[in-house]
Every structure is written in structure tokens, then in C-alpha cells.
Symmetry: C3
Subunit: 324 residues, 3 copies
Amino acid sequence: MRIKGTFLDEISHDIPHQNWGRKEWEDDFRYMKKAGIDTVILIRAGYGKWQTFHSNVLTREEGAFTPPVDLVKMFLELAEQNNMDFFFGLYDSGKYWVEGNYQKEVDVNKKFIDEVWKKYGNMSAFKGWYICQEISRKTGQIIDLYADLAHHCKLVSNGLPVLISPYIDGVKNVSQYLTDTTRKNGVSLRQHETEWNEIFDGIKNVVDIVAFQDGHVSYEDLESFLRINKSLADKYGLECWTNSETFDRDMPIKFLPIKWEKLLLKLKMADLAGIENAITFEFSHFMSPQSAYLQAGHLYNRYMEYLDQLKSKNNGFQKTGCSI
Amino acid sequence: MRIKGTFLDEISHDIPHQNWGRKEWEDDFRYMKKAGIDTVILIRAGYGKWQTFHSNVLTREEGAFTPPVDLVKMFLELAEQNNMDFFFGLYDSGKYWVEGNYQKEVDVNKKFIDEVWKKYGNMSAFKGWYICQEISRKTGQIIDLYADLAHHCKLVSNGLPVLISPYIDGVKNVSQYLTDTTRKNGVSLRQHETEWNEIFDGIKNVVDIVAFQDGHVSYEDLESFLRINKSLADKYGLECWTNSETFDRDMPIKFLPIKWEKLLLKLKMADLAGIENAITFEFSHFMSPQSAYLQAGHLYNRYMEYLDQLKSKNNGFQKTGCSI
Amino acid sequence: MRIKGTFLDEISHDIPHQNWGRKEWEDDFRYMKKAGIDTVILIRAGYGKWQTFHSNVLTREEGAFTPPVDLVKMFLELAEQNNMDFFFGLYDSGKYWVEGNYQKEVDVNKKFIDEVWKKYGNMSAFKGWYICQEISRKTGQIIDLYADLAHHCKLVSNGLPVLISPYIDGVKNVSQYLTDTTRKNGVSLRQHETEWNEIFDGIKNVVDIVAFQDGHVSYEDLESFLRINKSLADKYGLECWTNSETFDRDMPIKFLPIKWEKLLLKLKMADLAGIENAITFEFSHFMSPQSAYLQAGHLYNRYMEYLDQLKSKNNGFQKTGCSI
């Protein structure tokens, strides 16, 4: 199992910013490429009043602040230079859908999607969409929100693929603003399966890829959840990837890079569950040689050694349990 | 708007120490100078039993531990070498005034001020005083404490200027020892104005400069608070600076360097509010190329690019909204 | 007072992993050696399902995950190369003894000790054992657990020394998963003395060295606790070392390297209490020039300057109060 993609965490909810300029981003895309990454996913193009480029829609309708640079353009250019696919993450108001007004969240995003496609749709690296409203359970009108947004994305873009990356409502689903790292009860396997069966049924025709975050359940339960995710995705014709988080959810500091042993174990479990592609949240803070967290550079080195082992063992990658 | 000054955060309440020796401090003062900083403010010369130099007063009366080096002397020398003004932050007992005994806090500080002026008053960089008891509201006998300490500082030093740096009791006024980053209610604009009107009235003759911390209110409310601060300071003849924090209050890790976009936005708002000088808390952890937090070095680079833009745009700095 | 030993914090409960490979560890042992460290103590060989080498006992009986490398072998080799003593930390289930089943904790560890000694007992650096179940009070059957494990360690290894490193139930004994750094009440000196008198009496024939952690009490109370620890250890014939923590317990970020001034103060207090040896938790994160926390490298430099001062002052180390 290899990591084929990474999120780009600008704008971040909870990971302190690295203050990189274009030069650092150019280098980072090269480091990604060298590690076999061919897909980058903008985590969200806007959040509340913050935006990644000067959007007329967000500025006018949401009162968004004017950003100093156009990150979307830069990321698209760097993706093109490195022959990568870029997925565009939508706008998260941080309030409308949270407070139950799903329609308003959809409405502002539809205008935003139109603007974005008009502005960047001709750039060659623009290869898909990412719906950034993260969920774990079938609550509210989340199915409608996903279906409406995905449908609109495909409509304007001649059917480009749509990705979602939900989380599992597990024992480690604890707010990053609480200090605990675990809670007593997580969702059961059965309940998770029931709810996601219904969600997938409602979005199956417009969402193409689901990549569950893999960090919210205990390591010993992970493989079972991965197997359910894969089997449900197969049932409804979605591609099932794993979003293998590269930060460590078990530590008091929220968050620093994960221990390589843990990442390896998660990738191995995904492989055993029959999942073929991994993406991660995210390369630039938690896995990059130029990350402000120096543990990340060492994680990169361990991962590169692992890729070398795969290559020398298999003379090319084979999807077998023992290859990891 | 440019940053003209920085605090020196030794002794720190809550920011882990960098363990720098004289060489690192020499380099840091040069980095500051290069970024246009001409004023350094010792955040506090003592806190509880910790002190920045061997004070007879604090050792005898507070049982302070013997420090390994004389930081005050070193900072004064480095300020002199770099042609900077040094403001001396007083002693914070961490208990007397907190428990309501304002007089005791004043008394120990008066003796301390006498000792300090006798020991360091002849050093050329000693250009002002900073009262380190941070407040946000008119509580207890804070007016008397400020007025008495400021008066004594000026008395012994032939009228050197006195600086305070209060915070706003806003939605982000949350203990660094809690994990939340916001709370439900902050002080209203009107209440803030009422209380600070009264405080300024009580200290107007002895405090010269007020630099409110700018990190405790939401970004969308900041400009309104800055305008009130400026207008109140004007009314009572105080200089109004902004203390533009260079750490990020919105993140679970408390605290790492701020995103450049946020700092820029805050400086811009201060400029729009008519404020002419900015200082920051603080350069060495959050903005220095040699900070242990590597995000800080990138913030330095972004800020230096911004200074270059100002220079090339204006061929010298002009105070206009568009210059930022 | 010098630091003669350090823990090796693999597997960690709460300190994010640095993802070092063999090269980084080789360098780190050299840095340790240069700083006078001659003893390394594996903090624990297994915790829950994580293990530092592929143990048949832990894999079979605890369902432990397969680790990617054999850390124990590597540490033993590096200790040998650097002429250091290696102490082996046992297995902590994280549950049996915590839930009151002390016998089960002892039973699995006895089998584990047998396996470990058979596998690594012939390596020349294997010089002692460390019982990793950390305690601060006489609770449950902790005396029996310590005595049984220590006895078994000595039995299989022809009497190699056994080390424990308890903590003091002081005002800073606060969970790393809470944000507070202090609590209202800590154990009293008298109560601490009473309970440890009883514990030492129960383990005196099989535990050789006790190194209390020095970070859970206030700086002003520390010397008194150190004196009690030393006097109790003397009474029962145990060697009394201090485990002088090199991370800072007073900060919101849990945990970054300690301020040099604080470490120096603690070492000085231990010296005044008549303690002759210090170990630390731990070098590689908090004191190493290659730590991901750059404050650690500066702490190393400050400590090396201190060693130089000791050398030049004393032309060799003498145990006097003024030497620090």
C-alpha cells in the first residue's frame, strides 16, 4: 500500500500555519512527487471569513477577508508542473449546516462552484472536487447536502469525480479542543454499517470516491471498520480509499507527526481489507522534510525506506499482505 | 504599519523557554534590527520566585531563586549595541495583587524600582518602564496600582515614559490552561469603553503609552475595539500603540506562531483605526529565524517581503490604508 | 551534580515519536556519551499491544502488534559500542495492575523476563532491570508487584541490579491529558515519608536503586522531598538517585524541554540533599542536539557549558554545594 495523495491544509481549522511562500510550496510538491504522490486535495477553499483566493461570492455574501495571495492558482500550477491531479475542496461556512440550515450551505456553495469553475476550470490539473463538510453519522440533511453539492460539481465540470472523506464516530472522536484523547464509547460496527449503508445509497450516483479517515478508532478495531467501509463502497459502486492520517491522535499535543510504526500498521490493515489507494492528512505538516515539525522529515525518511523495500522485494508493487 | 518593538519573554508564564545563550541573543537582536525593530520591552523582571538578575530586594523579600545569568544587563547591552530603546518590565508577585493586596504589590515594586534604577539607570539604552500587571477590566484597586507604580517609575528616573499593555476581555480571553479557544461572551464595546474611560482618567498623568493586546477578540470585531482604544487614548493624551500578537490563539496547541495572513489583517486594521505604532508579543519565539518554532522563521520572511513591498510602493512609508 | 543516565522513551505514553532510524540513534548515543552519560534505561519494552521487539510472549498472550525493528537489540548494541550500561524496562499492560489484577501483571512479566534474558542476556551491555509500573503511593499490592518482579529479574540474571523511578504525589501530579499544570493539594512530606517507609521496607532486599522523578512538586518544596527520599533510601540500603526531568511541567504545551535555570536548580537541590547520581527523562527529546524540539539542543549547549565550568573550577568533580 502506497500513499497516492495528500490534502493541502490551507485553510486549517486546527493545525498551526507554516507561513510558507511559493518557494517552500514548490519544494514541497517536489518532495511529494518523489514519494509517489500524484494527487493533491485542497482541504477547503474557504472557511467562515477566510478564503484561499479572492472569491467574489465569498467576499460579497460571506464578508470574507481579502487574502494576500491566490493559493488555488498556485496549487493548480504546481500540480500541473508535477503532473498531479488537483481536487478542489469547497467552502465550509462553519455555521449554516452546523446550525441545521443545510440549504443555505448548499446555495452559497453552488454559486461558489460556478465561480470557481469559471475561474480555474480551464487549468489542466483541475481533476476533481472534494466536499469538505466532514461527517461521521447520518445526521440532519447530510445526504441531501452531499448529493446536491456533488451533483452540481459534476454538472458544471462535465462529470469530474467527487471525493468525500468522512470520519468514523469512534472512541478517538474527541474534540481537538478537549485534552482527552479517547472517550468511553464509540459507534458500534453494526451502527456504522447501518448509517453508511443509507448514506451511500443516497449519494451513490454522484459521489465517486470515499476515503474514510482512519484515526478515530483504536488500532485493534481499525481493520474491522476498514473492511466494512470497503464492502459498503463496493456494494454501491464507490471507489474506497483510505485517508491514513499522518498525525498522532494519542498524544497530549494536538497534533504532531505520527509514529512510523503506527502509520505502517494502518496501511497494512487497509491493504488487508482490500483497499487499493491511500491518501493522507497531510503531507506538508506531518510528513514533509521541510515541515516545522522535524519528526515529519524523519517520517518521510522511514516512508521512503519502506518504498525502497517494496521496490526491491517486488520489483514493482504487488497487492499482497506480505508486501508491507 | 510596521512593528517597531517587541517584548522579551523572559521570565515566561506560558511559553516554553528556548535556552538561548548570549550568542543566540546577539543574533536575535540583529534579526530584530534588520526587521526595523527599535524598541525591546522586558515582559517582567521577576515573577514569583524567579528573577532575571540577582535582585537583593526579590531575594530577601520574596525568597527568589538565584538566577544563573544577569539577563537585564545583557539585554541593556544588546539594546545599546543595536541602538534600541529598552523598557524595563517590573515584578509580578503572581499573588499579592491577584489576591486583592494591591498595596503589597506596590510596596515591593517600589523598593525593586529603586534598586533597579540604581543598578541599571546609568545604562544608555534604559529608556522606559513597563508595568507588567496585565489587566482587562477595572477591577480592584488597579487604577491605584498603575498610578502609584507609574508615578514612582517616573519619579526615580527623571520622567522616563511608562508603558502598559492591557488585554481586551473578549471572546478569546480564555486561560491558556484550558483547551477551549473561545468562550460564549466577551465584553461589549460599550462596557469596554466605559471601564477604560475611567482607567485612563485615573492614570493619564503618569502612564504615557498604552498598547492593547490584539488577540482576544474575533477578527471581525477587532477594528471596532482598536478604534475605541485609539479614541480613548487620544481623549486622555496617551499614545496608543497596538500590541499585535504574533502567536495564534485559534489553535489547540497553545501557542505557536500566527499565520501571516492574520497578522497582516490585524496590522491593517490598526492602521485603519489611526494607530501609528505596533509592538508585538513576541519576536523571539514567534517571528525569529532562529526560533525553535520553524514557522516563525517563515513568518519573518513573509514580514520582510511585506516591508520590501512597502518600500518599493511608497519609496518610504506612508500611512494610508492601501499601503498594507 | 552530573547526569549519568537517561531513559530511552520508546514506547512512549505521551511524548510524540521522533521517527528516528538507526543512524539518528547512533548519533544520539554519541551525543549522550559526550555529555557524560554512561547509563541508558529502556522506559518500557512493551505497553498494551505495542512492543519494542518481536516478543513471543507479548505477541501470543497480549496480541501485541509486530514491530518493524528490534529496538532492544539496537539499543544494546549502541550501549556496548559506547561503553554504557543498559537497563531493561519491563512490560506494562496498561490494564491488569491498573484494574487491580496485580498477579496477572506479574505473571505475564515473569514469562517475558525469562524470554528477554534468554534472548538478550548474553549481550555485554545488559546490566540491569527497570520496573516500569510507575507509582507514587502505597496502593493496592504494589509492594508485592515490585518485590515479585524484582526478585524474578535478579533470579534469572544472577542478581543484576533493579531500578525503580516513582513519582511524588505532589501539586503537579496532574494528568497530561488535563490542561491544568497544578492542583490544590499534594501529598504532605509526612505522608510521603510514611508510605515510602513502608514500601522500601517491603522491597529493600530486591530493589537496588530508587530514582524519584523530581517534577511533581513545586520548586520551593523540592529540596525537602529530596532529603526525605535520600534519608529513607539510606535507612533501607537502597541507592538514591534523582530522576531530574528535562521537560517543563509548568507550560500549557505538554511537554517541551525545560528551562536550563530550572534544571540547574533541581540538580543543585539534589546535590544539597546528598544525592550523588542523576538520571533524566529524557535525553533524546528534551536535551539532544538533534531533537525535533530545538530548545533541547540549546539545553544541551547550556549543560555542556556547565560541565566545562565544573571541570575548570574543580579540575575534576567534587561534591560540594558551591560546585553548582
